[in-house]
């Protein structure tokens, strides 16, 4: 039986399946988008945040706990940001204020985030594994009637729309405002920023805290919406993937959105190929999202740009 015959017989091209695949891509892409958008902020300012994975887990756990006990997903998202920020505070104190190695501290935060949340989950929900109700969604009148795309893209939790708006806002801030200029100066020539009377430490601190809050939000979205449950180590390397996407996107928010959803949609295409019964190895099908990212790397990496002062601590007067 040919692929097309099988696909037709298995109803794979039905509206319901296509809608679910597009929605699935969005579901997988949103946590990445928030986290990678956050990473663009700290990278611009010269702080490489390898602790994103741990911050996502902290956000996922704290967000889930609050959403579960308070019965409010909105408060869950806010709590998730606070949870991620806990990791950010450690990053700020050790790396920005004390000038310790950003890579070592970032990895330590990732390990601690995974360990702490796993312990807490085991103590609190280890045998009950509570799950949340499906999230409330907001549909955009008119657009939500478009076949396939309407119900999948334009009938989403309000946080998704906020995420898209945030990407636009960050792009504007980076290009048009003094804040954007300061961030860039902190990452490219911190001495110049200092000489201009702007605190490099404060700039980098706020950048690192913003990053961790967005990573926490990404984690909270993962546990509250994408899974509806918290399980230990549920981020599955998405924090690292977010770093790659932020670097590939050269710190540009709109490219971050593109990269995140390229990954998410690739996951959905891999699922679609399996559902269609395509007769190639599932191992090959499952490499598709990663191949997509590597291809993007090959095409765009030559022009990738990292701030010269990335990973370098700044101490006034130090040589």
């Amino acid at each position: 039986m040919s692929i097309l015959h099988f696909a037709a017989a298995s109803n794979i091209f039905s509206k319901a399946v296509l809608t679910s695949l597009v929605a699935g891509g969005l579901l997988a892409g949103v946590p990445l988008m928030f986290t990678a958008l956050g990473e663009t902020i700290s990278e611009r300012s010269g702080v490489l945040n390898l602790g994103l994975e741990g911050m996502m887990l902290l956000g996922a756990y704290v967000g889930f706990v609050v959403a579960y006990y308070v019965h409010s997903q909105t408060l869950g998202f806010v709590a998730g940001m606070a949870g991620g920020t806990l990791g950010g505070v450690i990053m700020v104190v050790l790396c920005v204020w004390l000038g310790l190695d950003q890579i070592v501290v970032g990895i330590a935060i990732t390990l601690a985030g995974g360990g702490i949340t796993s312990v807490l989950q085991g103590a609190q929900f280890g045998t009950s594994y509570p799950r949340l109700a499906a999230p409330a969604t907001v549909s955009i009148p008119g657009l939500d009637k478009i076949p396939v795309l309407g119900p999948s893209l334009f009938n989403q939790p309000v946080l998704v729309y906020i995420g898209f708006a945030l990407a636009g806002l960050l792009a504007w801030i980076y290009r048009k405002t003094n804040i954007g200029l300061n961030l860039r100066a902190a990452g490219e020539k911190p001495e110049a920023l200092d000489a201009a009377g702007v605190s490099v430490v404060a700039t980098r601190s706020w950048a690192a805290l913003s990053t961790s809050a967005l990573a926490g939000l990404g984690g909270a979205y993962l546990s509250i919406v994408s899974a509806g449950v918290f399980t230990p180590f549920m981020t599955q390397g998405q924090g690292y993937m977010a770093i790659v996407i932020a670097m590939l996107a050269r710190g540009k928010p709109l490219w971050v959105v593109f990269g995140s959803f390229l990954f998410g949609i690739s996951l959905s295409i891999a699922t679609a190929l399996q559902l269609a019964g395509v007769n190639i190895s599932t191992d090959i099908v499952n490499t598709l999202p990663f191949v997509a990212i590597i291809v993007a790397l090959l095409i765009f990496a030559r022009r990738s740009y990292l701030p010269p002062a990335l990973c370098l601590p700044y101490m006034r007067g130090a040589k």
Binding site: A9, S14, T231
Partner: protein, 355 residues
Amino acid sequence: MQINSKRLAGVLAAVVVAVVVAACGSSSKSNTSTHSGSSSASGGTIAIATPAKTADYGWNAQGYAGAKAAASANGMHVKLVQNIGYNNTDTILRQLALAKPTLIIAHASGFDTSAQRIAVQYRVPTITYDIPTMLHPGSLSNITTSSQQGAYLAGILAAHMTKTNKVGVIISASDTNWYEMTGGFAAGAHSVKPHLPIVFGQIGPASYDDSAGGKRVAASVIASGADVIFTMGDNASFGYLQAIGTAHPGHKLWMIGDIGDMTPIDTGHVFLSSVLWNFTHAYNQALSDIKSHTFGNHNYNLTLANGGISLLKTKYIPASVWLKIETAQKGIESGAIKVPDTTTAAKAKAVLNGS
């Protein structure tokens, strides 16, 4: 010598964080506990190391439950080291071996290489998984499963319960056991309805714990029209359960799980059954072989016939359907029904497609 106070403070802070991290890591990664099998337990110790927590309603829970039952039956203690992951296996198994327990259960096929080396070196009877030739007299034996037999029964159940006339299979990883059960399930379903479409989805190459991925793939399988879904996955199973329990496709959905019983957390009333793996008999047999000095001369296999594999009976399964399942079970046990053993993705897909 001039000491930079900021540097000193930084180093001290890093040491504090490292200690905290190490503490968290050790407490999360190697929770150790001891359980007495019986009040008169004095006849030795069964040490079991699991890759994840034993509260997973699956592989780890069943392994620990089997160890406790075997210890109870033999008047022994259980020493549990759980959630050790795969990075520090050698050290932990070595520590267990140094304590000279009666039996070590290295409860993951991913532990096999380390477990084999340590078992032979320290001459402590050790059980590994999935490689039947991994034997060494007195120190090393292996457990395999004929889980496809249970999956065959699950396929029969699914074929009888489906109202949309389409069923699904989701696996979390490229795992030999998952492929075997996929083939067994398809063969069982096609024995009832030869042309029943079976949609297949896999989360990733090794996404055992990807609960969000489980929910995402399950949503797509549900959208394709499947109403009875056989799922395999460790922590990914919580995502399957969430997707199936919260979906509203306009018809009733059922989930069939694997290894453990998720009924206690099935708030959506969708958990139809599960292909249960029970290690108690194999562990008891191993202890008996240790006493008779025959341990390591042969491996152990979980089957329907020895109770290692079974299909969970729940209140949702009609009596008439259960009767057919029991009949099929007798057929498998007597050899009248041959269940295909599909150890690779290609073989499993061939059976899925009805070849």
